[in-house]
Amino acid sequence: MSLSLKTAGHPFLRGEAEWNRGLNAIIGPSGAGKTTLLRLLAGLGEKAGDIQFDGRAWQEGSHHVPPYRRPMAFVPQEPSLIPFRPIRQQIDWVSAPGFKSNSEEWAEKLEISSVLDRYPRMLSGGEQQRAAIVRALATHQPILLLDEALSQVEDRLRQHYLQCLKNGPPAPWVLYSTHHLNEALEFSDTVTVILKGQIYSPRTPQDLIMTPPNAEIAWMLGYRGSFPLDNGRYVLIHPSRVVPGTHPDQGVVYPASVTIQPKPHSLLSQWVVKGHHTTWQWELPQYSKEWKGNAITIINPAIVPYPLNSEEVLSYARPISW
């Protein structure tokens, strides 16, 4: 049983994807098409493409299953809770009859139990988002679509809530979009990358990190350069997988002139790595004494069939911040 999408015929989205049970992240920069993708799956907006779930077509040619007939619940980025009804009333309204309600439990987990009897305007942005999630969960649909549904929640809490979703998934399928790469990698079973409307089929976080499909995604994942390994293969350089010095037992060694120095007025260190033809610079969230050397070692290297040193990408090679 899976949820599959072919975007042929869609004016903006391209590519195909198939999602299985679990926590599936959709990442991409803003404007990449995350919302369009989730709305398409929800049956809102464009009626194009081909969507199948559990052997049934949600969208196929002119056949279009309306949102309220699809076994899913969708939470948009800006929750449009009904302003003139208290949260609890809205939850009761969408609650699936005949199911033991788990809304109380989730309201507890997402820490909004105390505000359930209030009107939406009395809640903060983050609380409204969590209320919208609890409301969506009350529908008891097998697929939950969350469009940056925790974007207004502060980082620490959001990670806590994601952990809750990971530990006891409220729905067999959860598709959530985010622009927090590290969270997507940490909490998801699969990650779907979307760039300028192009959908790259879902991969496990490990797979995505080790074999990014192309240079652009490698860049998004934090890779900042590459060097040739042998004929047609390149080692990608990720600042967090680099140790200064020559350590052949730990990974691939690359001879380069390396300078590491503390960044003034901060707790960061600045790295400048001069390779054969290229200079890479980045910052890392660890303070260090000044260090100079003539090699770096790439731990657990990602080896890919494309370089990340093209002129185009080089122009990006300025210090990155964490």
Binding site: A42, L44, Y68, M72
Partner: protein, 253 residues
């Protein structure tokens, strides 16, 4: 300076606006009860109320789905524009012109008229009166209800659909309560138009005589004082509820 000037003008306008009502109440109330005893008046009152309720029901039943449908048209859709132009034209059409057209349609010489006349004489009937009233009031109802619906973000509706709620359930839980004040306004605007409809009923439905036409007859037969008393009756039927609703809402639309 600007405020002072506008204040002066505003107060003058307010007095001018209130004047007819004050005069009407002052003059009309003198023979309010006696006027109703005049021949044909009670019948006209009853005709206005019964045809009015029916016409209002028709406006509601026809106008509400239309307004809902228009709301859900694409924002730049041609149908939406076309309908807006049509409705505004219908709204601004002089009632007398409307009456003439209706009379022509119902005349035995036209196709529809001859067809209608096989059942019964088309004009000067109760249905003709109701039809004339509906024609005068429907554009008001649809335009006001449409704007009432249009003020509700489509997002609310879409999100409810995406939570497994059908459009009908969503209408009842979200759209109806949110648009109710606007729909009330639409309803009572239509009611005021229906009750006061004169231009087209005077052409197509002189009989059964409704109150506005009866007022016209009274002027001709008994003079202005009697007619003013009837006019007060008309205002008392048509306007208190819209006035009260406006008061309750605390201002205009």
């Amino acid at each position: 300076m600007l405020y002072k000037t506008s204040q002066t003008v505003g107060i003058v306008v307010l007095i001018l606006t209130a004047l007819p009502l004050v005069v009407l109440i002052e003059q009309g109330s003198q023979s309010l009860t006696s006027s109703i005893a005049a021949p044909g008046v009670l019948r006209a009152l009853w005709t206005t109320l019964s045809s009015g309720v029916l016409a209002l029901g028709l406006c509601f039943a026809l106008g509400l789905p239309t307004a809902y449908w228009l709301r859900n048209q694409h924002s730049q859709g041609r149908i939406k524009r076309l309908f807006a132009v049509l409705l505004v034209t219908a709204l601004l059409m002089p009632p007398l012109v409307l009456g003439l057209v209706l009379a022509f349609i119902m005349a035995p010489t036209t196709f529809t008229g001859s067809w209608l006349n096989t059942v019964n004489s088309a004009s000067n009937t109760f249905p003709a009166l109701v039809l004339a009233q509906v024609y005068e009031a429907l554009p008001y109802f649809v335009l006001t209800a449409w704007s009432a619906f249009a003020m509700i973000p489509t997002q609310w509706e879409e999100e409810a659909w995406a939570l497994h709620k059908t459009p009908w359930q969503t209408f009842r839980f979200v759209l109806w309560p949110a648009s109710r004040p606007g729909l009330f306004t639409a309803t009572w605007m239509a009611w005021a138009r229906i009750v006061g409809a004169f231009g087209s009923p005077v052409v197509v439905a002189y009989h059964p005589t409704a109150l506005p036409v009866q007022i016209w007859i009274t002027i001709e037969e008994s003079g202005l004082p009697q007619a003013l008393a009837l006019a007060l009756w008309l205002v008392l039927i048509g306007l208190p509820i819209p006035a009260w609703l406006t008061w309750k809402k605390g201002g205009i639309l």
